[in-house]
């Protein structure tokens, strides 16, 4: 599809923290695979390991190496803005992937490509609420929330989306407590164990991702209370999908790291090709519940 004129683009990517969960790992693999399939691009793949200083250093390195475009998965949506500005001053277009940077930096960014975490949180709230309505307990249901690692944009946005939307759709459902599960199944299992001791009546659990949701489910199963509780997560992982199939886990948000990665790369190429790309390039993350799960393939991660 590409002519001789732009025979080869070099695109650099600095990711948040590969290896911390399988979403990010699958993303990286999908990104590299997509790049390999495309003869016209070569990629420099870097990982910040969750450290913002390292990520800024990697931005500087990529600028210094004079790559054609930079994709960034920010470790901190605000701290990277000056580094992004530096890139734009060096005439290198920057594409933000997965979670956006703060508005102040929008001037220096060519495009954002990724899921809309606020919407995801809101959709999780809707899934939960619909379920309660079906059960007829929307008037008195009590829920707990297990959020992602404190400090991460994704965690914050998902919690915000959920907390803002819930009172709109189910004003009488109370969120009794939120504790972080650090994206970690075991940690979230411990948190849930304490919730179960503390509260006799828990009707729903919202977890920031399925990994944590399954951790909570395990705790409830061990306490013999899983049947009474609606579990809703986000970022549907394979474990969550299986638990849904087993009828233990109610719903989640379907978000594919492969889509995420491919969208980011394609956006970068489109920008380099001079195409018109929308500034906010969300890819869709639909609701998935026990009712509609046959429409989705089981996640590979």
């Amino acid at each position: 599809a590409f002519g001789e004129a732009h025979s080869s683009y070099t695109i650099g990517i600095t990711q948040n923290n590969v290896g911390v969960d399988s979403y990010q790992t699958t993303y990286e693999q999908a990104f590299i695979a997509a790049a390999e399939e495309n003869d016209a691009v070569e990629v420099v793949v870097l990982d910040a390991g969750g450290d913002v200083a390292r990520q800024i250093a990697q931005m500087e390195d990529l600028i210094q190496q004079e790559v054609d475009a930079i994709i960034i998965w920010p470790t901190n949506g605000e701290a990277v803005i000056p580094a992004v500005r530096k890139a734009s001053q060096a005439d290198i277009p920057v594409i933000v992937t997965n979670s956006n940077i703060a508005e102040q930096g929008f001037d220096f960014v060519a495009s954002f490509s990724g899921p809309d975490n606020i919407t995801q949180g809101a959709r999780s709230a809707e899934i939960m609420c619909d379920r309660f309505k079906a059960q007829g307990i929307e008037g008195e249901a009590q829920i707990v929330q297990i959020s992602g690692q404190p400090g991460y944009t994704t965690a914050i946005e998902r919690a915000k989306g959920f907390e803002d939307r819930l009172p709109e759709v189910c004003p009488d459902v109370t969120l009794v407590e939120t504790q972080p599960g650090d994206w970690n199944r075991e940690k979230s299992q411990q948190v849930m164990e304490a919730f179960l001791v503390k509260y006799d009546d828990i009707d729903g659990v919202y977890a920031g991702d399925d990994n944590m949701g399954v951790g909570a489910l395990n705790a409830a199963k061990a306490a013999g209370r899983a049947g009474d509780i609606t579990f809703v997560g986000a970022t549907n992982f394979a474990v969550g999908y299986e638990a849904m199939a087993a009828g233990e886990y109610w719903g989640s948000i379907y978000q594919s790291p492969v889509d995420d990665a491919e969208a980011a790369l394609q956006t970068a190429i489109d920008v380099l090709d001079g195409k018109d790309v929308p500034f906010l390039n969300y890819f869709d993350t639909p609701k998935i519940t026990q009712d509609n799960m046959d429409e989705f393939t089981k996640p590979v991660f």
Binding site: V18, G19, V20, D21, S22, Q24, T25, T26, E28, Q29, P150, E177, Q179, P180, W183, N184, R185, E186, Q189, Q190, V191, E193, A194, F195, V197, K198, N211, V214, G215, N218, A222, A223, F237, A238, V239, E242, F301
Partner: protein, 316 residues
């Protein structure tokens, strides 16, 4: 009595603590909750037992967290490939090999344990990622395997993780306090040169402490894997410092040569109950950090204050 208070300050602190929480929220001492806490402390606890040996021997082990991730991922992966009966010993062998590697570096090559195990923390994490391809590892057929017995089973109403933790604690406590090997660990940690001059094979003793530590890590990984039948690559991340905190809380000196398994167990339980108690009180998660800070320093302070017979340090 005062002497006892001083010597067992950590136990007293523990008791005071439990009572305070129980008053604040009676559910805290609900038997289910108590079992729940011990059960979830068991993984940390089993690791702390092994690290106690290492610390008494005068070294540190910061690699246990990432090593535990490794064991968990490996046993889960092998479970589906070669079946649980073979997977468990294979995983133990691989984890012990890592422990042996560290043991050789620290024991025989006499490299500094802080840096070696810090390096191994990173290297083993890399190894785990390579092994798993960065993916979560899950057992395909979760309901059809007896493998869940270590994490979810129970005997006579007692959950297996607690039984394993308790059993291992008793065995290791006896090894440490009653056998020649245990004595040698104390000697090597107390004064390595003098131990060598007494004909104690220092390198081998240090090597053995790391082997024991990795054995405990493998056991912890087994419980972990069996408990959730699936895991992330980062399941043990950050646990090294928690483990160390528990061992220190129990009064083991980082200079080596002192500490006991019993005290480590108390240290583990204190950490577990603090976490749980604060959660039950509905305090924000960061309160747990701050309380742990205060408890660690108070516990160690009172411990050494009792030894020197005065609250304040004599250094001018």
């Amino acid at each position: 009595m005062q002497g006892f208070l001083a010597r067992q300050g950590i136990l007293v602190a523990f008791a005071v603590f439990m009572i305070a929480f129980a008053v604040a929220n009676p559910r805290f001492i609900d038997i289910d909750n108590v079992f729940g806490v011990i059960r979830s402390s068991a993984i940390l606890g089993v690791m702390a037992l092994g690290v106690t040996f290492v610390v008494i021997g005068g070294n540190l082990d910061l690699s246990v967290g990432s090593m535990m991730s490794f064991s968990t991922i490996v046993v889960l992966d092998l479970h589906d490939k070669i079946g649980p009966t073979l997977a468990i010993p294979s995983m133990f062998a691989m984890t012990l090999a890592l422990g042996a590697f560290i043991g050789i570096l620290v024991g025989y090559l006499k490299l500094n344990s802080l840096i070696v195990t810090l390096g191994m923390l990173s290297a083993i994490h890399g190894l785990t990622l390579t092994y798993s391809g960065g993916k979560n590892m899950d057992i395909a057929d979760k309901s059809g395997t007896w493998f869940s017995v270590f994490g979810q089973g129970s005997v006579a109403g007692l959950p297996m993780p607690i039984l394993i933790f308790a059993g291992l604690a008793i065995v290791l406590s006896i090894i440490l306090s009653r056998t020649p090997f245990g004595r040698k660990v104390y000697a090597v940690g107390g004064n390595g040169v003098a131990a060598t001059f007494s004909g104690i094979p220092r390198a081998r003793v240090v090597f053995m402490t790391y082997l024991m530590s990795s054995f405990c890590v493998a056991t912890a990984g087994l419980i972990q894997a069996s408990r959730s039948l699936g895991s992330q690559n980062t399941v043990g991340q950050g646990m090294e410092l928690e483990v160390l905190a528990a061992v220190i809380l129990g009064g083991a000196s980082l200079l080596g040569g002192s500490g006991t398994i019993f005290k480590t167990v108390i240290g583990v339980l204190i950490l577990g109950f603090i976490q749980n108690g604060l959660l039950l009180l509905g305090l924000a998660f960061y309160a747990q950090y701050i309380v742990t800070w205060i408890i660690i320093i108070l516990a160690v302070w009172l411990d050494i204050a009792a030894k020197r017979g005065g609250l304040w340090s004599r250094i001018a």
